[in-house]
Symmetry: C2
Amino acid sequence: MKTPLIQRLAILGPGLLGGSIGLAARQRRVAKRIVVWGRRAEAAHEAVTRGAAHEVARTPADAVRNADLIVLCMTVEAMPAVARALRPGLKRGALVTDVGSTKRSVVRRVGAVLGGKAAWIGSHPMAGGERVGLRAAHANLFADAMCFVTPLSDSSAAAVAKLIAFWEALGGRVTALSPARHDAVAALISHVPHLTAAALVNLVGRREPAALGGVGNGFRDMTRIAAGAPEMWAGIAKTNRKEIRRGIGLLIEELRTLERTVAHASWRELHALLRRAKEIRDGLRPRRRSSGE
Amino acid sequence: MKTPLIQRLAILGPGLLGGSIGLAARQRRVAKRIVVWGRRAEAAHEAVTRGAAHEVARTPADAVRNADLIVLCMTVEAMPAVARALRPGLKRGALVTDVGSTKRSVVRRVGAVLGGKAAWIGSHPMAGGERVGLRAAHANLFADAMCFVTPLSDSSAAAVAKLIAFWEALGGRVTALSPARHDAVAALISHVPHLTAAALVNLVGRREPAALGGVGNGFRDMTRIAAGAPEMWAGIAKTNRKEIRRGIGLLIEELRTLERTVAHASWRELHALLRRAKEIRDGLRPRRRSSGE
C-alpha cells in the first residue's frame, strides 16, 4: 500500500466542506489519521459517526497537535479567532489552509495570527452550494471541482506542491493564483452571480409576487444559489467588497448594453451578443453530478 | 371511453413545443385526430414517425381544414405570415392559439390577420428551455407547467373555457391574464432572467475567459438558459421591448441596492435582503422533472 500523502489531517469545522474533506480523504486514502474539532461538540462526534474523521479533539490546539495538514472550514469571518486558538498546538513544519470563498482578507488576517509559526496558504474549492452542513457532505464533493490555491510570493514551494497534491488527491482540478487575483475571479464567477440571483428573486417577489407560483425551470435554476445561507454570503461580501462592487458595476454595464440594443432596435447586435453567450455557455464543462439539487 | 376534448387538432410547427403538444394530446387522449404542418416537410413527417401527429398537411390552409383547435408553434415573428396562409382553410367555430413567449404584439398582429374569422386567444406555456427541436419533445413537457392564456375583453367565454381545458388536459396549470399583463410578468420571470444569464456569461467571457474552465455548478445552473436559441430570444426582445427595458431597469435598481449595502458596509441590510431572497426561493414549487438538463 502506498504511503498516504498526509499522516495526520486536522479538520476544523465539520460542515459540508469539512465533512466532505474527511470522507474523501478517508475513501481515497489521502490521510492516515483524521482528527476533527467543531465549535459544537455534537457536530464533531457526528463527523466521526459518519466516517469523516477518526477522532474528536476538544480544542483547536488539541486538534492540530502533530497534524501535518490543518484545514479551516468555518466562515471566513470566524477564521482568525480559530487560528489564534489553534496556534499553541501547531507542530513545526505544519501546513495550514482553509476553504473560504474569499482570500485576500483572510490570508492576511490569519497570516498575521499565525505569524510564520506554520506554512499558511489559502484554498478555495468551488464545491459549495445552497446546501450546508454535515448531512450534505459526501466523498465526491470535490470530484472534478475547481480548487483554487492562493500562495504568496514568499510561500514555500514544497508547501504549495503539497497543497496542490492534496486537492488533486481529493479529485479536484487545481489552479494557483494570488489572493487578489482569486478575489477578482471569484467575484465574477461566484459572488456577483449569487447576488444577482438574489436580486432577481427579490425583484419578482417585490413586483410580481403572484407570478412566483408560475416560474419555470429556467427561473428556478437561475436562482437556485439564492437559497444559500445568508450568513455565509454576507460574510463573503464583507471580505471581498472592492471586487464585488466592481463586478456589480461591470454586470450593470453588460445589462445596459443589452438594454440599449433593445431600445435602439439593434437586433443584429443583440443577436450577436446572445450568440456569443450561447457559444460560451455551450463550451462550459458538463455539470458535475456530485453536488447541487 | 370519454369523448376527446378536441376532434381535430392542427399543430403548425413541429418543434419542441409543437411536438410535445402532439405527444401529450395523443397519450392523454385529448385529441381524436392530429394533423401537423411544418415549414420543413421532413420535420412534419418526422413528427408523424415519432407519434406526435397522425398525418402531415402540405400547407397551413390544408392543416387547419376542419380543425377545431389550431396551435401556432413557430417564433412569434413568423406567426402573422403563417396566420395569413392558414386563413383560407379555417372552419367556422375554430379556435386558434399559439405558444409564443410574448403576447401583446402577436395577439394584435395575428388578430388583425384573422380578422374575426376564428376565435383567436394567445397562450404561453412556460415549458421551453435551452433545448429546441422535435428531438427534445416529450409527452410530459407540460406536466405541472404554468400555461398562460391571454384572452381579450371581447373573447368568447366558451373559447376561453375550451382553451383552459386544453392546457389543463395536457397537464398544465393555467392562469388567464391580459396580453399586456402577461408581457409584464413574463419580462420579469423569463425574459430579463434570460438576458441576465447572457450578460453574466459575456461578462466572464470578456473579463476572465480563463476562469470559464473553473466555474462551479452554481454558475452553470445560473447561466443554463443563456444556451437558448439566439434567434428565438432576439424575437422575444423585439416583441416585448417596453417591458424588457423596464425589467432591466428594475433589476439594475435591485443590483444597485445590493451594491450600496456593500459600499456602506450595511451588513444588517444586506443580510435581510439575502434572507428575503432565500425565503422566496425556498418557497418556489419543486423543479419539474420533465424538462431541463
